[in-house]
């Protein structure tokens, strides 16, 4: 059981990391697109960011260096990541369920970090009641909130006609998967044998591949489910924790003015050598002409000649 649990976690974690990194790299490698700013852009000068203004409001804006206001950016990012501010602001009804769910995941992550730190720093044998109580409390909060959040979201998906019409079977499966995984983990804790190893000992064992640690069948089952869930996430839209970096930083907020000779300008020059194959006659793309050639021709005038 122990070895199965360890291997499941190693594999699940490895797939999660590799697939997430792969997905992020795929997005990062996409061509630099044309600008598609959307205001407010929080890294504008604080005075302007407050009402959604931009450097375009300044006379001869190109003569002044663009200095991104990172504090302003953080003041939007931190509440968004921590409290799902946009959902709170624009979809309060859904926020309650969603925040329970996401809050549960955040606490799970925090709990895992604490346990790993403990294993690395002190060793499982060191007795630390405050730490153990904190971890246990956090663990239970994570289990309860994630299950409650999953079920609340599931309820909304099934009952709210707005969501129901656009809910796919996978959406329901995903939420059930989360609820079930956390439920099994919760049950495994409640039903653990008296001589079962502590959670801290298990984490230390996991890090050192110590097979002497005892894992119950129910816990092993819960851990394998969690591993499968972890491995599954990068293949779904649930990787929006990756996507949000790009949608915010490289689309909405990417207001960098193009400077001749810059990296962006060089990349775009490269793209202009692509040979598109759009087939509408007015585009006049034949698969041989480059973008640069196409956009410097004037088909309506050529027809006129």
């Amino acid at each position: 059981m122990t070895i199965a649990a360890y291997l499941g976690i190693y594999l699940g974690f490895a797939i999660f990391v590799c697939a997430s990194v792969y997905r992020a790299v795929q997005y990062a490698r996409l061509p630099v697109h044309l600008r598609w700013d959307l205001y407010p852009v929080p890294h504008e000068e604080a005075r302007r960011a407050a009402y959604g203004g931009s450097y375009f409001e300044t006379t001869n804006w190109w003569t002044r260096p663009q200095k991104p206001n990172r504090i302003g950016e953080l003041s939007v990012m931190v509440p968004e990541i921590t409290f799902l501010k946009a959902l709170w602001e624009f979809n309060r009804k859904l926020w309650y369920a969603s925040y329970l769910f996401h809050g549960g995941l955040y606490i799970t992550f925090g709990c895992a970090v604490l346990l790993i730190l403990r294993a690395l720093l002190a060793g499982a044998s060191v007795h630390s009641p405050v730490f153990d109580i904190t971890c246990r409390a956090l663990g239970w909060v994570a289990v309860i909130t994630t299950i409650a959040g999953s079920l609340a979201l599931l309820w909304r998906r099934v009952r709210d006609p707005q969501l129901k019409n656009y809910t796919h079977r996978a959406d329901l499966f995903n939420l059930i998967f989360f609820a079930m995984t956390y439920a099994v983990l919760g049950i495994s804790f409640l039903t653990r044998p008296a001589d079962a190893s502590s959670t801290a000992a298990f984490v230390r064992g996991l890090l050192t591949f110590d097979t002497s640690v005892r894992v119950s069948a129910v816990l092993a089952c819960g851990l394998l489910l969690a591993s499968a869930l972890l491995a599954y996430i990068p293949f779904t839209h649930m990787t929006h924790f990756i996507a949000k970096y790009f949608t915010y930083h490289t689309v909405r907020w990417d207001d960098r003015a193009t400077v001749p000779g810059s990296d962006v300008a060089a990349k775009v020059q490269g793209y202009l050598a692509y040979k598109p194959t759009w087939s509408a006659p007015h585009v006049a793309a034949d698969g041989k002409k480059t973008w640069a050639e196409i956009v410097t021709t004037n088909p309506p005038q050529e027809v006129r000649k």
């Binding site: 959604g52 624009f90 019409n165 949608t247």
Partner: protein, 535 residues
């Protein structure tokens, strides 16, 4: 009214519209349009139109797609759509917007946060067809099925969809039921962008299938590239018209104005939306007067397309967009001006300042500035004396989406109206949270069949509500009111909207640009330059 439209209905083979928009279901309006009885009945599509064009979506027809005559033709059109769909997701064909498109395809959680932010969805009485993600969800399912070649597992994960000609035909129409205002994107917690989806769909139809509304393609960007302006004005005609405008403004203001043409080395190349020259000559006239009075070194260009700032490609076609943007920049380069200043035209602002930014390389990277900034600088410079009491009437300000939400130009125009208009009042919400006028993305110039009915009842309804609310304390005809819209397309929509509801005749709500308000307050200009006449 059928309100339970589902995505699968888009593939229905019958040609009956999927929904009917009933006035009784529309979002209520405030006084004086508070009762449904005061609303107009829709003009139904004629039998001829229904027989000739694809009209299976709703009560109107924006694109006039001819009906496919045979099953073979339908098959060929679907095949063409599929090849375009494929191209939309390749870097060679769509490097321009591939990244935001893929992110939106792969990460929308369908949480509906965007729904309430959409003026079309709200104004239509929450009609399912106009829900922002209805259109996106179709493209998303098509993407996973036909681009990613997803099988059973993909259908389970991303939803089923049946692709046939009725679906494509309806989708073409549906891509012209969104103003591209991107208010929905602003609220999306993930950063998905339904406006972008509309934009990309329109590109697919135009760039691959050669399908786009006549008003924005044939009589729009094609005409502009052919003769120089979508108004049909050649350089000779535009110079004549401007000379007439100069004469008129000189006579009315008492100050001699002469618009300079093709002046090499001028500081500013001013490019107006040529629609202003034709429909609202007082706007270019006011600009000429203000620049003359402030002693600005400026010029206009008579190069092809350079005397018309419009760039309709920004709504539907990357190739057309880039061609026009390059023409604007080339004219500036030729004249060796220090900067291009874009007149009161929202989409021209965004097109040339933001979207073309990465295309204009080397010596084409001429700085672009908003006329709102230049006007603010002129007003604040002290070079012209103003008397705000000349603008002693209620004024409200419309925020054109392209200038405000999509460029962040919020304050310059406000600094002016706060200073020069004692009775200025904001609409709510305003600034970057504004609502589209309903004419965005080309709708203001699209008047085929009964499309104006949809444009006024649905697209412009939220703006109309805002305007009426802003003037609620003085809505009677005894108080003339000014709706300031520093954007040509917005003005076109507001003109038609106000006329449709008779709000000039009955309530004395006039619309106009910003430059006209400034001139009206200039002490050295003969009083009463602002004409309280409907045009």
């Amino acid at each position: 009214m059928r309100r339970d439209v589902k995505i699968r209905d888009m593939s229905r083979p019958d040609r009956e519209p999927l929904t009917h928009v009933d006035n009784a279901n529309l979002m209520p309006l405030p006084a004086p349009l508070e009762t449904t009885a005061k609303d107009h009945a829709w003009t139904p599509l004629s039998a001829r139109v229904k027989q000739q064009y694809e009209t299976g979506l709703d009560d109107t027809c924006a694109v006039s797609v001819p009906q496919a005559k045979t099953p073979e033709e339908e098959k060929a059109l679907v095949a063409k759509f599929l090849s375009g769909l494929d191209k939309l997701f390749t870097r060679e064909n769509n490097w321009t917007f591939l990244e935001p498109l893929i992110l939106t395809m792969e990460h929308c959680t369908r949480c509906q946060t965007c729904a309430e932010s959409c003026h079309l969805y709200e104004a239509s009485g929450h009609n399912e067809l106009y829900r922002p993600i209805f259109r996106s969800e179709i493209l998303r399912r098509l993407y996973f099925k036909h681009v990613k070649h997803g099988g059973f597992l993909s259908a389970w994960q991303h939803g089923e969809i049946e692709l046939n000609w009725p679906m494509v035909a309806r989708l073409i129409e549906l891509s012209y039921r969104c103003n591209l205002c991107r208010r929905c994107a602003q609220t999306c917690p993930i950063g998905a962008d339904n406006g972008l989806v509309t934009h990309e769909l329109r590109k697919l139809f135009s760039q691959e299938m050669g399908i786009a509304p006549k008003e924005i393609h044939e009589r729009g960007s094609m005409l502009q590239l052919k003769v120089g302006s979508s108004t049909g004005m050649t350089p000779e005609v535009v110079k004549d018209n401007i000379a007439f405008i100069d004469e008129d403004i000189s006579a009315r203001s008492g100050i001699t104005v002469r618009t300079p043409w093709d002046v090499e080395g001028a500081d500013v190349l001013l490019i107006h939306n040529a629609g202003e020259i034709m429909a609202w000559p007082e706007n270019p006239g006011s600009f000429a007067l203000l620049l003359t009075m402030a002693g600005v070194s400026w010029t206009m260009s008579s190069e092809l397309a350079a005397y018309d700032s419009i760039n309709y490609g920004v709504w539907y076609d990357d190739a057309q967009f880039a061609r026009v943007a390059l023409k604007h920049a080339e004219a500036a380069r030729k004249l060796k001006v220090k900067k291009i200043v874009i007149g009161e035209c929202g989409h021209a602002h965004k097109a040339l300042s933001v979207i073309a930014d990465r295309l204009l390389a080397g010596d084409l990277a001429i700085p672009r500035e908003s006329s709102l900034v230049l006007l603010r600088d002129i007003v604040m410079s002290g070079k012209i004396r103003f008397d705000a009491s000349r603008n002693q009437f209620p004024v409200t300000l419309h925020d054109p989406c392209n200038e405000v939400r999509l460029m962040g130009i919020v304050e310059p125009q406000r600094e002016i109206v706060r200073l020069l208009c004692p009775q200025f009042r904001e609409m709510e919400p305003h600034g970057v949270d504004n609502y589209c006028c309903g004419g965005g993305s080309g709708f203001a110039i699209m008047s085929g069949h009964n499309f104006p009915d949809w444009r006024f009842h649905v697209a412009g309804r939220k703006k109309l509500q805002q305007v009426l609310n802003a003037f609620a304390d003085c809505i009677g005809p005894e108080t003339p009111k000014y709706l300031c819209a520093p954007c040509s397309n917005c003005k076109g929509q507001l003109r038609d909207l106000l006329a449709y509801y008779d709000l000039w005749e009955q309530n004395r709500i006039l619309y106009g640009g910003l430059a006209e308000l400034i001139v009206n307050a200039a002490v050295d200009v003969k009083p009463g330059s602002l004409e309280w006449e409907w045009h």
